[in-house]
């Protein structure tokens, strides 16, 4: 009977019974096994073919395994053309829908600003500036019949703004009461407004 080299985790037997137990262990090693029935393999395989691992596990396994992608240069060119078209279309629509904040959107601002202009003879006055992209629509001022002053209250976020008044829909004038003026680059001047966060301001 062949003897095997002891393994590191072999059991240390009592010397008095060591040899008998070693021989017994060798006899256990020689115990014959019954052959399992042939239907065991076929039965198991028939059953497991109908079973699938949970969907979450299959998805996770799929996502973790590397994938190879095959494509032709023509397919790449088509894809790139499509992406370029999408980019151009996006840029076009962005430019076309120019941002025009109205009085309502500015209401979301943090500081109420009262624009005033003492111009009793004017028929209409609007205020335009960098805060509304110089669009007068929706920014018409209201005239106080008793005092002849035009006023408009807006809520503006903190920041630096340039603005002016439009008289009767035609004439553009800076705020005559503004403390600061700035050249507009076309030979005219705009009033400068600095809005702080925590103070109501009257212009």
């Amino acid at each position: 009977m062949a003897t095997k080299t002891p393994r590191p985790d072999d059991i240390e037997f009592d010397p008095a019974e060591s040899e008998a137990l070693r021989q017994l262990s060798r006899q256990v090693r020689e115990i014959p096994y019954l052959a399992p029935p042939a239907c065991l393999l076929s039965g198991v395989m028939g059953a497991v073919r109908a079973r699938r691992f949970p969907l979450w596990y299959r998805s996770l396994r799929w996502a973790r395994s590397p994938k190879s992608l095959t494509f032709t240069p023509l397919q790449v060119a088509s894809l790139m053309s499509f992406l370029v078209l999408v980019c151009f279309a996006g840029a076009f629509f962005l430019l076309k829908s120019e941002y025009r904040p109205d009085a309502m959107s500015l209401v979301q601002g943090s500081v109420p600003i009262t624009f005033t202009l003492n111009m009793p003879d004017a028929r209409s006055v609007s205020v335009v500036g960098t805060f509304n992209a110089w669009q007068e629509k929706g920014y018409e001022m209201t005239r106080d019949p008793a005092k002849g002053r035009w006023t408009l209250i807006l809520r503006l976020p903190g920041g630096r703004y340039e603005y002016a008044f439009i008289l009767d829909g035609q004439k553009l004038i800076p705020d005559p009461e503004a403390e600061f003026l700035a050249d507009d680059g076309f030979g005219n001047q705009n009033a400068v407004l600095i809005v702080g966060k925590y103070h109501d301001q009257a212009i």
Partner: protein
């Protein structure tokens, strides 16, 4: 089958290659079938339960910890099934019969039995083994018949490594005592 091959097969099965599972069955069906046979004493029950163990192992394979040995894990599943079966059989005294064609094995089994009968020492040893409590019997079998390392025996029997060593040692000593009590001990034999 070494551990690397085993892990590759398990990965293939988990990736959807069901047929790869047949290699695991072929590698381990014999010790699993025999273990359950030792527990139940019935080939039909052993075939039934071994099949159930392999199916259950497949269903739970996605929970199997990568890097561990498959056999101790499978062994634990099969052992638990066999123990549950014995518990149930004690309660309702019913025995399930497999519907597969076991008669195809009868010739082989007969030959196998005949061969065993010709080896009286082995027969006595098997008789003594069947007299051991299953906890000790399986520890001895796993150690000396399956030649598993202690760590794997500990995993299969849900013991610590030192507990597995103790179980094997005591099992072997008890086995010797049983053989001696029947007058077939090898106390005075020489190697």
């Amino acid at each position: 089958m070494n551990q690397i091959e085993e892990q590759e097969i398990i990965s293939a099965v988990l990736d959807g290659n069901v047929n790869a599972y047949a290699m695991l069955i072929q590698s381990y069906q014999q010790p699993i079938f025999n273990m359950i046979f030792r527990m139940t004493g019935s080939r039909e029950d052993a075939a039934d339960l071994a099949q159930e163990a392999f199916i259950k192992a497949y269903e739970q394979l996605y929970r199997f910890h990568h890097g561990r040995r498959f056999f101790p894990w499978l062994y634990t599943i099969a052992l638990n099934l066999a123990r549950n079966f014995l518990r149930k059989r004690r309660n309702d005294k019913t025995v399930a019969i497999d519907d597969c064609d076991l008669h195809s094995q009868s010739d082989y089994v007969t030959q196998e039995e005949e061969r065993i009968c010709t080896q009286l020492d082995t027969q006595r040893l098997q008789g003594a083994l069947s007299g051991l409590p299953w906890e000790y019997r399986e520890a001895v079998i796993l150690r000396y018949r399956e030649e598993l390392p202690m760590a794997d025996i500990a995993a299969a029997l849900s013991l610590s490594v030192s507990g597995a060593k103790m179980r094997v040692h005591r099992g072997l000593k008890r086995l010797r005592e049983i053989l001696e009590s029947k007058g077939h001990g090898n106390k005075n034999t020489s190697p």
